[in-house]
């Protein structure tokens, strides 16, 4: 099944942020979107996650129009935003319980061999979020987003402000996710993350352009 975005349009006031954005991703692929701040990366991911409504365009998964069916969209997509979508006062376990609502057996199992286990959540299961490092919070956010086992995972700058070991842990999970047939769509500014991506797109002036990263960062910056 293919994940496809067709001709997405979005305008904020007079500014046309997205102007006919289209792309397609097959299972087991990682797609990266680069672009300077304010280019519309987060807007695009918010639309794909169902947070924002586009002015036009379609998002399909296996032929189904996800934008016209919030239930199908919620089932198909997991989203990790830039912020911290966690309850700061509560522990990792309490936060996971919210997203595993009514599925406590699944949670117990996943803590043994699922996504939380892969991201080493059990090592800080009872730590309150406000006492966690940035890497812990990001790993927990990914675990929460994956609670309903979506085939498509969207991540908005997942490794921003993380240390090297946290990045390595998260990247290892991304590789495993795509190896198992998942589709990863991430926005990033981080050059090492480009290597994870099977396809890279440059978002500029509201449109996506395929881009092949060759290690020449100054050239990329000039094109942005």
């Amino acid at each position: 099944m293919q994940f496809e975005i067709q001709n997405i349009q979005k305008r904020f006031g007079r500014k046309q942020v997205l102007n006919g954005v289209s792309l397609a991703a097959d299972p087991g692929t990682c797609v990266g979107i680069v672009g300077k701040n304010g280019s519309g990366k987060s807007t695009l991911l918010s639309i794909l996650a169902g947070i924002l409504k586009p002015d036009g365009g379609k998002v399909t998964w296996g032929g189904d129009d996800l934008l016209s069916s919030p239930k199908k969209l919620a089932d198909a997509i997991g989203y990790v935003p830039q912020g911290t979508p966690l309850f700061e006062e509560l522990t990792a376990l309490d936060n996971l319980r919210l997203w595993y609502a009514g599925k406590s057996r699944d949670l117990a199992q996943d803590l043994k061999d699922g996504v939380p286990a892969m991201l080493d959540i059990p090592s800080f299961l009872h730590v309150p979020v406000r006492q966690m490092s940035g890497g812990m919070k990001k790993r927990l956010s990914i675990s929460c987003a994956m609670a309903h086992r979506p085939p498509v995972l969207l991540l908005d700058e997942p490794s921003a402000a993380l240390d090297l070991s946290a990045k390595a842990a998260i990247h290892a999970y991304f590789r495993e996710f795509t190896r198992q047939g998942g589709i990863l769509l991430l926005s990033t500014h981080d050059a090492p993350e480009f290597e994870l991506c099977d396809k890279l797109y440059l978002l500029k002036d509201g449109a996506l352009t395929p881009y092949a990263y060759d290690g020449d960062l100054p050239s990329l910056v000039a094109r942005m």
């Binding site: 947070i51 409504k53 979508p85 509560l90």
Partner: protein, 415 residues
């Protein structure tokens, strides 16, 4: 989707309970401050008379005339110490120049000019009127009280004159021996009845609640509402959101603005109720240990039924505070807004001063303010009055604040 909504509610309750120790500590400090204020009020007034005079300031009236004349002096002393006037009138003996100066300086409401030989004129039925001088710019209840006083003095004098002339008639017709008759005794008794029916001298009409509630009841009502208002400062800690990632994300899973606001408001109300229950329990325990007699209002006078009766009050207060915390994503802004709104509403609802001190317009407005209804709901519990208006009003306010909060949350989720 229902499971996620239910889990969101449980998580919100859990989240707020996690902050409970800090909140409770703040609550105890607030309660201590309020108790301190109440104690200062109690000890400032020595007895119920002082409390009454707090609610009704005395009217000062100057008296110009020879008060050294024994009968006139006794008359003024009697009026000054009558039950109906001793809390309301203060006579000042002075010259006419001094009285005029005080009237111009608005230190007295009016002055009475008693002509020389006034008592002789009374006994000989000459017309030597007492002049009542009132400032041209003055009005209001003080002046009305002075007019009442003048009417009362006239009535005393005409009754005295009637008695004197009746006795003169009796003497003329039956001789001095007639003073020994039972008829004269009857006349004297009727005269005393007329003159000494002191409670009927003023027509009294109580319009403010302080006259119908005891001090401790009044301060209990004001204190509870003030406590709940100030507790709202805790709300800024619990309810102000800087990061909307989670609400936005959970909305995509079917928990929209209505469900989010309802769950958060319900959880906040429960924590507020829990804090109040602990404080009421603690206070009752403390009062019983101190040997102070105090019974909770309501048919059963029990703490659970009292708290049950407070539901409309607690939920409306929680809804107000929740709404205020939705106005900004900056905790400092919401803290200041909550503090300002709490102080203004508390002030206008009689939590700091008696309502009778305020203009009539404010007193009328208080009835329709959410905090005014909350105070009135509590007072009606003590007075065993019907509180349907307050309950309906508070339910309406709860719905209104909930609706406004839903609209704000909906707008923010779509931003």
């Amino acid at each position: 989707m229902m499971k996620l909504r239910w889990q969101y509610l449980k998580t919100q309750i859990h989240r707020m309970l996690m902050r409970f120790p800090v909140l409770f500590l703040v609550t105890i400090l607030l309660l201590g401050a309020i108790c301190g204020l109440a104690w200062a009020q109690f000890t400032a007034g020595k007895d119920e008379e002082d409390f009454q005079s707090l609610a009704r300031q005395k009217v000062s009236v100057a008296v110009v005339g020879d008060t050294s004349e024994s009968y006139l002096g006794i008359g003024i002393y009697a009026v000054e110490h009558m039950d109906s006037s001793r809390f309301s009138v203060n006579f000042i003996d002075c010259t006419e120049e001094e009285a005029r100066a005080m009237l111009e300086a608005e230190e007295v409401e009016a002055y009475l000019l008693i002509p020389e030989g006034f008592l002789d004129a009374v006994t000989t039925a000459e017309n030597k009127p007492v002049t009542l001088v009132i400032g041209g710019n003055q009005g209001g209840i003080g002046v009305e009280l002075v007019r009442e006083l003048a009417d009362m003095v006239s009535r005393v004098l005409t009754s005295s004159q009637t008695a004197i002339y009746t006795l003169v008639d009796v003497e003329a017709n039956y001789g001095r021996n007639a003073y020994d008759s039972k008829d004269v005794t009857q006349i004297n008794l009727r005269y005393f009845d007329v003159i000494l029916s002191r409670e009927e001298m003023y027509q009294k009409e109580t319009v403010e609640s302080v006259r119908t509630l005891s001090r401790i009841e009044y301060y209990a009502c004001a204190g509870v509402v003030l406590f709940l208002l100030l507790w709202g400062l805790n709300g800024t800690l619990l309810l102000t959101k800087r990061d909307f990632s989670l609400p936005k994300l959970i909305r995509t899973r079917g928990v929209g603005a209505v469900s989010q606001v309802t769950a958060e408001l319900f959880a906040y109300s429960l924590v507020l109720l829990l804090c109040l229950a602990l404080c009421v329990g603690g206070l009752l325990f403390g009062l019983s240990k101190a040997g102070v007699s105090f019974s909770l209002p309501g048919p059963s006078e029990s703490a659970p039924s009292f708290l049950l009766g407070l539901f409309p009050l607690v939920f409306s207060m929680a809804a107000l505070q929740y709404f205020l915390c939705q106005l900004s994503d900056n905790p400092i802004v919401t803290l200041l807004v909550t503090l300002l709104v709490s102080l203004v509403l508390g002030y206008l609802s009689g939590c700091f001063y008696f309502l009778s001190y305020f203009p009539k317009e404010v007193q009328e407005l208080q009835v329709y303010l959410p905090t005014g209804m909350q105070v009135n709901l509590l007072q009606s519990a003590f007075l065993e009055k019907d509180a349907a208006f307050c309950i309906k009003g508070l339910t309406g306010y709860t719905f209104l604040f909930w609706l406004c909060s839903v609209l704000i949350r909906g707008y923010r989720l779509k931003k």
